[in-house]
């Protein structure tokens, strides 16, 4: 999994590229956790480079969402590929996460 990070104003965007599975979940969680522990409150995860996600990936995003909520921050997602969107739908997570079609829409929403 390739993870790139960019700060635009107060928004920290994480661009994920690869399979978001049990193998890569720990690495993604570490990076997101680090940003949150350093005070990031507005996280945008760009999933345009992710064509596969399993429950391990979903679990990381849910755990970070919960942490941020306690700190009155928020995590938002953008650019889900169709299969990833379907996994979110089946898992009932499309109602829980704010999901945007484009990166810019995600940034503007904060």
């Amino acid at each position: 999994m390739q993870i790139n990070q960019k700060k635009e104003g107060e928004v920290y965007t994480f661009f994920l590229n690869g399979r978001f599975d049990a193998h890569s979940a720990g690495e993604v969680e570490e990076k997101l956790d680090l940003a949150v522990s350093q005070g990031a409150q507005k996280l945008l995860v760009d999933l345009s480079g992710v064509e596969y996600i399993s429950s391990a990936g979903l679990r990381v995003l849910l755990a970070i969402a919960k942490k941020l909520k306690e700190k009155e921050g928020q995590i938002k997602l953008c650019c889900l590929q169709p299969y990833v969107k379907e996994v979110f739908d089946v898992a009932g997570l499309t109602q829980i996460f704010k999901i945007y079609g484009t990166h810019q829409e995600g940034i503007d929403s904060f």
Binding site: S54, S55, A56, R59, K66, Y83, V87, V90, G92, I96
Partner: protein, 143 residues
């Protein structure tokens, strides 16, 4: 064409997930699964395999064997472990709360596994858990 083994036996650890994926990928290609169906079976196998690595052998390390075969237009994957008895079919459908606060972080894996394949069977045979996952070549128009 490279001959694909009909089974692989591995130490039940997360590091071996890539090998499991490669095995399932090779069989998906052999049966001619659509790319969507291939992702479905990869997802179901990952969820089942990761559960075994986490829970089947609480006090030691153990092994997992994955068997594959083709039955008409279906890929049939059988996963065997010798860990503690675990029947994923006995779990009722997870309750999905729509509030982030109430929503539990775990419990998703089995639910996804059951939803993304066409059939799941479980059998406890002697000291083994046998889980069978069945995936058709392509999804029907109604699913």
């Amino acid at each position: 064409m490279e001959k694909i083994p009909s089974s692989i036996t591995l130490k039940a650890s997360l590091e071996n997930l890539d090998k499991v994926n490669r095995f399932v990928h090779q069989w998906s290609k052999k049966v001619g699964l659509s790319s969507q169906s291939e992702k479905d079976i990869l997802l179901a196998v990952e969820e089942a395999y990761v559960n075994i690595t986490k829970y089947a052998y609480p006090e030691s390390t153990g092994r997992v064997t994955i068997y594959s075969r083709i039955d008409k237009d279906r890929l049939i994957i059988k996963i065997k472990d010798e860990g503690i008895p675990f029947n994923p079919l006995q779990f009722a459908k997870a309750e999905f709360n729509t509030s982030l606060k109430e929503r539990k972080v775990g419990g998703l894996g089995i639910f996804l596994m059951r939803n993304f394949v066409d059939g799941v069977e479980y059998e406890r045979k002697g000291k083994c858990n046998l889980l069978t996952l069945i995936k058709k070549k392509s999804r029907g128009i109604f699913n």
